[in-house]
Amino acid sequence: MLTTVEKVIFLQDIDVFQSISTSDLAYLAAITEEMEADEGRVLFKEGDASDSMYMVIEGTVRLLRNDTEVMTAGFKDVFGTWALFDDEPRMVRAEVTEHARLLRIEKDDFIDLLADHVQITQGVFKAMVGRLRGLASRFNKQD
């Protein structure tokens, strides 16, 4: 099992958390749950309620939409991020293709954490705005 500090090392490389200070990441680490999943296990299906995001520590998870592979998540890849921010149902199916160790953050815990730590909220916003700016500048370049 990973300790809090090891989880922080992991979380600091996740882009949506990159603007959060490491000491605040320790609070986030405290609500992450480490889990294992055997090959073939379906973590969620298309249309399921979005309730958590996942990060891969070991193994691989395949993401499929209409039975077509969208991506294969491996070490340090993240999937289901938007579940933390909206209530839309899952758009993909997540299926473990190689025995996996995962970190999971539940939406309710995440929202509670944001309510208590405004600086974490600011960090998440900053990262989101950074993403949007990146997208906007890419569009501008294309224009």
Partner: protein, 953 residues
């Protein structure tokens, strides 16, 4: 790391050497050229016309320079600076060659010598002005403070060289041919300008020009520079300051020449005297420039540097007034010449820094050329009038100088104040406080705005209009209230309309309010009941009728209104049995909410109302009900109950409310509620704040409670407890004090205590920086050959945590400064010194340099003015007399410090380092109170022991 000796002696930072060398060479050659062409011009002019025509030449210079500036500023605005300089230098080379050719042809028309005289005067001012303009782009404010002194020295050295060069070569080459050397030097300048532009100025110029295009208002373009100068207080003062200085310089020159001529009658000896002192003056000026200018600017800032020249002239003039001898004449010239081209010149250039680039470009040449020459003209006219016409002697001129110096000193004080204000304005422009708009409710124009908003506005506009007319009574408004009510039946509009409607005796809305009496929104019901009761002939009867309503909602609203009235009317308090009313309301509540499928939403909203009623009634007999609601699971109910408990100010709820400081989503309400208890509970809050066994969230919330109490006692309590072992707690205390300071300007804080706190925080900052440096330096950091593959990542985490800690330290320091100085100024300065815009950063640092006390400046400025860690560390060691700590000592300090997260990162790094010798440091934390520290210590300990096993194997 030690600075190279030359760089240290010249006070240069890394990366500045090349730019400084190029600019030094440029000004050296420029002034050398000037010192070659000026003597040639003077000798030619005087040989041809004699001394009598010289005053006319002065006047001509003044007139022509005016015309020249008008044309030049128009052109300057349209041409890129480097090209403008190249054109000027190129055309000057051409002019010199043409002049030389004409002289070779023995062309001796009178206008030609006047033209030569005027051209040299304008050339001298123009090329030096362009040089300093370029220098402002090459160096930022902070660099300028250190380097402008060196550049001034370059100019002086060029002067000495040029003078001696002319002196030595003139007998051999002849005066006229010397002009060609001037042209040669200028070609050298052109090459240097090209290098300077590509090395240091191009980028800054482009950035500032782009910003100018974005920001400058259109009406500025095309405005006459004279209008800009006289339309701007700071620029007018600057122009006056320069003008007064030039007039005095002319008077001093006259005085010096007159005394020398009266004492030394022999022409050759007089020439030797002038020659000797001209060179000596330049040397004196150079010595001051090299040894004093930078130090004076650093220590006394711009303001202080401007007092040296007038001070020196004042002393010299008093000496002349007393003795009138040659020694005093030399002294005054020595002071004037020595300070003018060194400290004063550098200080004067810095006064330009707060001026926006676009304005500076347009008016600097105007002030330097036009003001300088006009003042020279005025000086000449004054001398003709006073000395020649009125017969004033040396003493009279001294008296005049002393009087003008007094004006000069006063101007210095005003300009310095304006200088600081200009920086303040520049950094404040980021935020515009719209909430500070003032609206005059009595203004007839107000109705013209409000009526259309009430008639056709959207809800936001209607609300804004209703807020504006909150206390205004007007027939035109009355006519429109009913329509507004019907058009926007929302809570905010209804409550405001009913409030306003109460101003009118002849506006009866009772009938249309009946459907709203049982509205699901409690605030609407309360507003309606208040209106109905106020309108009733017999208020008690109206209340009694509403209190006996069959609707629980009506009764709730009626009881709240009754309780509110009871606070101010004893008759209501005694007439109504609040306990009986509440208990009967409770029975009705149970009846109406019971059923097989209870409506949870309805029950929750009614509970919220019950809590509000309990808070309004505030009867100890009913407190048990409030206790029940304080344990409710629903957050809205809990919040309402917490608010109600706070409004009772009863000791009975105090500890429950403190406990709710640790309840998610309720903390803020609990802080507000506890603040209602006021000053009496401050000692209890402080005890909880300082109790290490207390819950961390509760401790962190208490400073916020004290800030909300908002009294001098609360502020004192916060200040006395500002130094907390835990950085998060310390940060929270300071944040709360900042909040108090923002809300209550007249708050008195112990300034010396604040200074001490600030020094302590600074000490922590510099020491943390030492530790950070240790960790980023591979040679000094811990880590054995048995380090794990995760060790680099662990060390990276520790470095990042230390950087975050430094950021927090710096924020606390600026928050403390915000308690000591104008909070908004310090907030803006902090945002800019931590921002990415280099020139805004430099502006903010310059502002701090002018505002902070000497003691604080020494501590704070090094933190922000250089990104060079070695320089910062050197300052820290000098300030707090500590030596660079060893790697192990740093780790020990981190583990004994106040920051649990840094402890965690340190323990993890030690664990991954494989340094078995550090094991005792880890062992000490195996039993730590904080789970995260304990857990990491266990992990580190395991890792070290595994490494031990490997070693054993």
């Amino acid at each position: 790391m030690q600075k190279p000796l030359l760089r240290k002696a010249l006070n240069l930072e890394p990366g500045e050497g090349k730019r400084a060398a190029l600019m030094f060479s440029y000004i050296f050659l420029l002034i050398a050229t000037l010192l070659v062409v000026k003597p040639v011009r003077n000798s030619l002019f005087l040989t041809h016309f004699g001394i009598e025509m010289l005053p006319y030449a002065f006047l001509l210079v003044a007139v022509v320079s005016g015309l020249f500036v008008a044309i030049y500023t128009r052109i300057a605005n349209k041409i890129r600076l480097d090209r403008l300089i190249q054109y000027t230098l190129g055309s000057s080379v051409g002019t010199i060659i043409v002049l030389w050719l004409l002289l070779q042809l023995h062309y001796e028309a009178g206008w030609f010598f006047f033209l030569l005289y005027v051209w040299v005067a304008i050339f001298g001012v123009l090329v030096t002005t362009q040089f300093w303009l370029l220098a402002n782009y090459v160096f930022n404010v902070r660099e300028a403070k250190r380097i402008f002194g060196l550049l001034g020295a370059g100019g002086i050295a060029g002067g000495i060289f040029g003078g001696y060069f002319t002196n030595i070569l003139a007998p051999f080459a002849g005066s006229e041919d010397l002009l060609l050397f001037g042209a040669l030097f200028l070609i050298g300048c052109m090459v240097l300008v090209q290098f300077v532009w590509t090395t240091g100025a191009q980028e800054t110029y482009r950035e500032q020009t782009q910003r100018r295009r974005k920001r400058q208002s259109a009406d500025l373009d095309g405005t006459n520079p004279m209008r800009i100068v006289f339309g701007n207080r700071y620029l007018s003062l600057l122009a006056t300051l320069i003008g007064v200085g030039v007039i005095i310089a002319n008077l001093v020159d006259y005085q010096y020449s007159a005394i020398a001529t009266s004492v030394i009658t022999d022409e050759d000896k007089l020439t030797a005297f002038f020659g000797f002192w001209l060179s000596t003056l330049s040397v004196f000026s150079l010595v001051i420039q090299l040894l004093l200018t930078s130090r004076v600017l650093r220590r006394y800032g711009v303001g202080g540097s401007l007092y040296f020249l007038p001070g020196g002239i004042l002393v010299g003039s008093i000496m002349v007034l007393i003795s009138g001898g040659l020694t005093s004449a030399v002294m005054i010239k020595l002071f004037e010449g020595g300070f003018k081209q060194s400290i004063h010149k550098a200080g004067l250039e810095l006064l330009w820094l707060p001026i926006p680039t676009s304005v500076k470009n347009r008016v600097k040449a105007f002030i330097d050329v036009f003001v300088d020459n006009t003042a020279t003209g005025i000086g000449g006219l004054l001398l003709i009038l006073l000395a020649d016409q009125l017969g004033w002697g040396i003493g009279g001129v001294s008296g005049l100088i002393i009087g003008l110096v007094a004006v000069w000193l006063v101007l210095n004080v005003i300009v310095r104040r304006e200088y600081v204000q200009s920086f303040r304005t520049a950094i404040e422009k980021r935020s515009i406080r719209l909430d500070q708009q003032v609206v005059n409710a009595q203004d007839p124009a107000l109705l013209e705005t409000v009526i259309p908003a009430l008639e056709t506005g959207n809800q936001k506009q209607v609300l804004y209009a209703l807020d504006l007319i909150e206390h205004v009574r007007h027939e035109e408004i009355k006519k429109r209230l009913t329509a507004v009510f019907e058009r926007h039946p929302s809570r905010d509009v209804i409550t405001r309309v009913l409030q306003n409607a109460l101003h009118y005796d002849d506006l009866d809305l009772r009938e249309m309010l009946q459907p709203y009496l049982s509205h699901e929104d409690a605030e609407i019901r309360v507003a309606v009941v208040t209106y109905l009761v106020t309108w009733a002939d017999d208020q008690a009867a109206a209340l009694t009728e509403l209190l006996s309503s069959d609707s629980v909602r009506v009764r709730m609203a009626a009881l709240r209104v009754t309780a509110d009235l009871g606070r101010h009317q004893k008759s209501v308090r005694t007439a109504i049995d609040f306990q009986g009313q509440f208990e009967s309301l409770l029975m009705l509540f149970d009846e109406q909410t019971a059923g097989e499928e209870p409506d949870d939403e309805l029950i929750r909203s009614l509970r919220v109302e019950l809590a509000e009623v309990l808070g309004a009634v505030n009867l100890p007999e009913l407190y048990p009900y409030l206790h029940m609601l304080l344990a409710d699971e629903s957050v809205p109910v809990l919040r309402a109950a917490v608010r109600a408990a706070g409004s009772t100010q009863s000791d009975e709820f105090l500890y429950t409310l403190v406990a709710h400081l640790n309840t998610k989503y309720v903390r803020k309400t609990a802080r507000d509620a506890l603040a209602m208890y006021g000053e009496a509970q401050i000692p209890m809050f402080i005890d909880r704040l300082n109790d290490p066994r207390e819950n961390q969230y509760i401790r962190l919330s208490i400073p916020g409670v004290l800030a909300r109490i908002g009294t001098q006692t609360a502020a004192r309590a916060l200040q006395e407890n500002l130094v907390q072992d835990n950085i998060h707690l310390r940060h929270e205390c300071i944040r709360s004090l900042n909040r108090l300071r923002n809300e209550y300007e007249d708050l008195r804080l112990d300034r010396s205590q604040l200074d001490e706190d600030l020094l302590e925080e600074a000490r922590t900052y510099y020491f943390t920086l030492e530790i950070l440096q240790q960790q980023t330096d591979d040679r000094q950091s811990v880590g054995s050959r048995f380090a794990s593959e995760d060790f680099p990542r662990a060390r990276k985490l520790l470095v990042r945590a230390l950087e975050e800690r430094l950021d927090r330290n710096l924020e606390i320091i600026f928050r403390l400064l915000g308690l000591r100085y104008v909070p908004e100024d310090m907030k803006n300065a902090y945002m800019q010194v931590t921002g990415s815009k280099m020139d805004l950063r430099a502006d903010a640092i310059e502002f701090l340099d002018n505002v902070l006390d000497q003691k604080l400046k020494r501590v704070v400025l090094p933190m922000v003015e250089t990104p060079n860690v070695d320089v910062k560390l050197e300052h820290g060691r000098e300030l707090f007399s500590h030596d660079p700590p060893s790697g192990e000592y740093c780790l020990q300090m981190l583990l004994e410090g106040d920051d649990d997260w840094l402890k965690v990162c340190t323990l993890y790094t030690i664990g991954e380092s494989g340094e078995r010798s550090l094991s005792p440091l880890v062992e000490a934390h195996l039993m730590a109170n904080e789970r995260i520290v304990r857990e990491t210590a266990e992990l580190a300990y395991r890792r070290l022991n595994i490494e031990l096993d490997k070693m054993g194997a």
